[in-house]
Subunit: 337 residues, 2 copies
DNA sequence: ATGTGTTTTGCAAACGTTTGAATTTTTTTG
DNA sequence: CAAAAAAATTCAAACGTTTGCAAAACACAT
């Protein structure tokens, strides 16, 4: 593909390239007539400015890299949508990589992005104890870096997150008020996903607040975050008295729910189940799943706005922390008994 | 972020930039010693080649644009994964835009990508009767263009697709053999999604082959492709005798299934349900859903390989058509009565 | 006409690479 | 030891922009 350049226009109109450049950028020093003549010609000739040339000139790529832990839930899709919404409107390209909850893959993707010289990174770490030095190196190079969703925990950085602890508290409170006494927590590994620690904290606080005993036997940490991990967690609970489950994500909740059902237990009568994520998957399972629904699209938007702000403001050393609101959606899976 | 350049290395080592350039590119005309010295210095100084400079030089962006109709199913995620797998290994950036099944949005995204001067486009059209001229314009500009999944139908272009007709035939055959006599087809609009036309063709062929009467009253074209559209289709079937449903996608199938359940109909006893897409969503609903599962990751890979081939071979005017295999996965939703 | 001031345009360098051609250095040869 | 050949290095232009500064064009007063 051969594109029309500023030079072509200059040659055509017998003016200099600088004049064309200025005219197209509406520079005040160009005579109105000339400007209009040039802009008309540009349009007519199908000129489109070559972004790589200007990027070279300005020493940037107008690209931001996004690392997500997974890409196959509507949750991820919505966040990405939000990011792209802001970025495309600000003329930034977005490149996405999924780590698949694998820290090595995450690291590898970061490496690729660094080679692309992206102007900034929006990341959702899969494991808060991994790749820390790498992210620090990125920070030292003064490449803008924003985290979202997963709490970075052991690294100071701007971030866009949900108030896990509070939301978990309210959700568990809801279960308690619905008459549940033995509420299990199916969480992600505490050494991997810090949000899990926080939701557990909220969970425990709610129990305490309502005078329910905390039973470590019904607090499970899963291997991964797939449906099968939810199911596996249920197996571990097999011999424990349980009348409700609060799962770390919708995926875990759905995995758990289906296992419970196949064991012949009725939901919500025998066991209430609640998740966290607020994807529309909650509405396609039966019974429909109660969940905490962060404003995912907005989360993406905020993260994108933040990174763009940091890119345009290299001096700004802020570690701004944006809290995204989340709604608790009550559905059949936690109906009162 | 200030990066180390070839010039910095040149200055440091008191050689010319061309020597550095050639040394780093392993040019044979550079003395071994010099080359090694330069490469060592480059590494030590943390040099990373500036892709925007080389891209400018070569008149390309090393970016390929992907247009998907939706991004919130595991289907899309897997295809994208496949695309990225190939592209990142070939040093191409991938930028993705979702049209949300809206032709205007699709067009808008294409516009943005054109402004980014991507080297090629991989697209899944949301409506084969919309934006045709626009895609033709892209072809006229000789920008490599590959379609996947949705049949482009009224435009000649390289594509990576599934044999819809045949696969639909076999799936419906399976329903018939399981004893179903009144098999409904819930398809996407025939004027919008050509695959729907083809699957309908396969559906009809299977009926014919087994001597079942074709009943147009139980062939529904939906508005959109969401769960709600599946449910709405079931409502339209309300007064028809139906003991099986073949839905155009898993999403439609799940929407239909849930509506049937809420109407008190048992699946598969009263109505068998089958979908098409092969996402893992089929396994989280109950009963688990029979479906046709195209090799999604592979589909993405093939599409990416094709586009890269075309980029590297501008002369190649091929309209290669790659057929991706698909497996029929039999699950509880279509068990024999 | 001449000079002054303003407006408009052009020159040339720069961003970080690559690469054909020219130049320098080294090696080989008679 | 000089000349020729080969090898290694450098020069300079190019990719498509932007932009400080110089130059040209014009307006107006004298």
């Amino acid at each position: 593909m051969k594109y029309v350049t500023i030079k072509d226009i200059a040659r055509e109109l017998l003016v200099s390239v600088s004049t064309v450049s200025r005219a197209l950028n509406n520079d005040a020093s160009i005579r109105k007539e000339t400007r209009e003549k040039i802009q008309a010609a540009a349009k007519q000739m199908g000129y489109v400015p070559n972004p790589v040339a200007t990027n070279l000139k300005y020493g940037r790529t107008k690209t931001i890299g996004v690392i997500v832990p997974e890409m196959s839930t509507p949750y991820a899709a919505l966040v990405i949508d939000g990011i792209q919404d802001i970025c495309y409107h600000n003329n930034y390209k977005v490149i996405i990589a999924s780590s698949g909850e694998d820290a090595d893959k995450e690291r590898e993707s970061l490496d690729i992005m660094m080679q692309f010289m992206i102007d900034g990174i929006i990341a959702c770490r899969c494991d808060y104890n991994k790749n820390t030095e790498f992210y620090q190196k990125i920070q030292e190079q003064h490449i803008p870096l924003v985290f979202y969703d997963r709490i970075p925990h052991n690294i100071e950085a701007p971030q866009v997150v949900v108030d896990d602890e509070t939301k978990a508290f309210f959700l568990v409170e809801h279960l308690i008020r619905a008459g549940r006494k033995n509420i299990a927590f199916i969480g992600a590994n505490f050494d991997t996903v810090y949000n899990s620690v926080l939701r557990h904290k909220g969970y425990r606080a709610a129990l305490e607040r309502y005078g329910l005993e905390y039973n470590p036997n019904i607090v499970i940490q899963t291997e991964g975050l797939n449906y099968s991990d939810g199911a596996a967690a249920v197996d571990k609970l097999r011999h424990e008295k349980t009348d409700a489950i609060f799962a770390f994500t919708d995926t875990l909740a759905i995995g758990a729910m289906n296992r419970l059902k196949s064991m012949g237990r009725n939901i919500p009568r025998d066991v209430a189940v609640a998740g966290f994520s607020g994807t529309n998957l909650c509405t396609i399972v039966s019974p429909q799943l109660t969940t905490v629904e962060p404003r995912q699209f907005e989360m993406g938007q905020r993260a994108a706005e933040l990174i763009i702000k940091l890119i345009n403001n290299p001096s700004l050393q802020s570690n701004e922390k944006v809290i995204i609101d989340a709604d608790i959606i009550y559905r059949d899976s936690t109906e009162e008994t």
